[in-house]
Amino acid sequence: MVSPSHHRLIIASVVLIIAVILVVSLNLQSPSDINELLQGELRVAVDASLPPFAYYVGEELKGIEIELARAVAAQLGVKVVFTNMSFDSLYDALLINRVDAVIAALVISPHRTADFRYTRPYFDNGLVLVSETGLTPERLQHATLSFEFGSDAHSFASRWKIYTPGLVKRPYESPRYALDALGTEEADAALIDNLTYQQYISERADTVLEAISVSHVPFAIAVSRERDPLAHHINKALNELVDTGILEGIVNNGFKQTIP
């Protein structure tokens, strides 16, 4: 028999243990307090030479990544401070703690993961195969493929040609000409980067084209490896922006802006 006082003691112990487990698990989800990590501001390095992701209009920073940084900071409950840098100095700025995060069209680089953490991607700028009929790479035998001379798509097309001898390569001076060639039936399919494609179709509401992803170039936010908890918080904020559709809105709106 257990006496009522012992019973209460057991219940109290169980409640205490559950409370401890909850606190520990919450701490695991949020490894450190965001205010301890950031002192009220998220210092973000951007590269304002990459429209529509980041660019200057007069003295003002604009672009998809500027809006993304603001949205992440809002999720974290801190203000955002931008520093404009060129590509060469971005990673070093993280290493010496000059900034907290880099949002600059950085592609996840396996060579840098010893020093840096990347978040989930927020945009994929891989190549897409565009056609009116949803052609896939396997169905390109005897098809004419347009692309921009000298671009990554050109390299891809040259490789495909090895395995698909019947493929006819048709280089153009610009990626838009390669897409225009679909309308004039000079090409059956165009190979183009996703960004150019998105911008092209956003300007032509009446154009019906199908795009199939053939490579991945994922843009992600980078944080120093030494600041794992911060990467965790930013990733969580990014997930929230994806789940609520805010990120998609930022990206779509970014493509519609007129860039000077």
Partner: protein, 388 residues
Amino acid sequence: MLSGGILRLTHYRGWLSRVVVIAVCFYLIASVQPRAILGEEFTVETKIPQLCVHTRLIDEVETWKIQKTLELVRQMGAGTIVEFFPWAYIEPSKGNYNWYQADTIIRHAENQGIRVIARMGMVPDWARPSADDVRTTLNYLPEESYEYFANFVAEFINRYRASIEHIIIWNEPNLSFEWGFRSVDPQSYTRLLETVYATAKSINPGITVHAGALAPTLEPPDSPHGMNDVLYLQAMYEAGAAAYFDALAVHTYGFTEPPDASPGSDRLNFRRVELLREIMENFDDAHKPVYITETGWNDSPRWVYGIRPSQRAQYTVSAIGYVKENWPWVKSVCLWVFRYPAPTYSYPDNFALVTPGFQIRPIYDVIQRYALGEANEQSLWYPPPTTD
């Protein structure tokens, strides 16, 4: 005991034979990897003796990739490379040198008949302040370590006395990032030149010491990011730098302008080198040659300073022609960059002529035909589509 041992041996014999078979398989697989055997010595055939490329071989892990890169450089018609020889790699602890990679690069360059201009920089941990005191990058060289750097340069020159005739002291010291995220300081850079020059000349009086290698930039006064290259060169001369270098290394990029676009103090383009040359003339230093150790255009579709790949191919060969016809004082035109050992996954990849996987980009073919004196007769792309 003995019989037990024999039994155990018999028991393991099957495993032993399997291990031997696997080891032989590994050996055979390893032996089919490309090898980098030095064969007959080559010479570079070219109509453009000034043609040069900046390579990135020091981070290449496999020797056959160094050899293949240099073969492609030679076949393109470039007789000179600029290559980085980081102090931090070669002297990782004070007085202890690891020359393996540098030896490999220089040996293979010589085998292909290619001259090497050596770019020196990157500071080892032991020559920088302790990380407990201040966090610094590999570009942070305190003045108290200038002598150490000079000693390293002396060791380098001495080792490659028969092979290396040109060294570049530091890279883009007018950028804060390249100066260890400190305020840039042309007077301090001049003191660095002074320290290194005397030591280098004492080892090999025939060595050509290059200064400058300044980044083209229009940074305004008091910018935390750097200093205008023309103003920086002026300040170097005012600090007495002329006595401590034999040639000016210049970085001049075309950005979005064609190679014949006029230079100006408010713009960045290929002919910006003329503004630097004016400074040399103003300080009676025009007898010294100029080496363009970095130049080129970028064809990233995203970068605001990028152009179309078709324009890049045209501009690049036109720029080489412009140098040949107009600037007799320029001895080399080095294109940034021939090939990276690994992708940067950003717009810098669009400076390269060959991919990390050795896929040749069309611009390589265009330059090669130009360097070999062959005409680019056929159009490289189709005309814009029209609806009529």
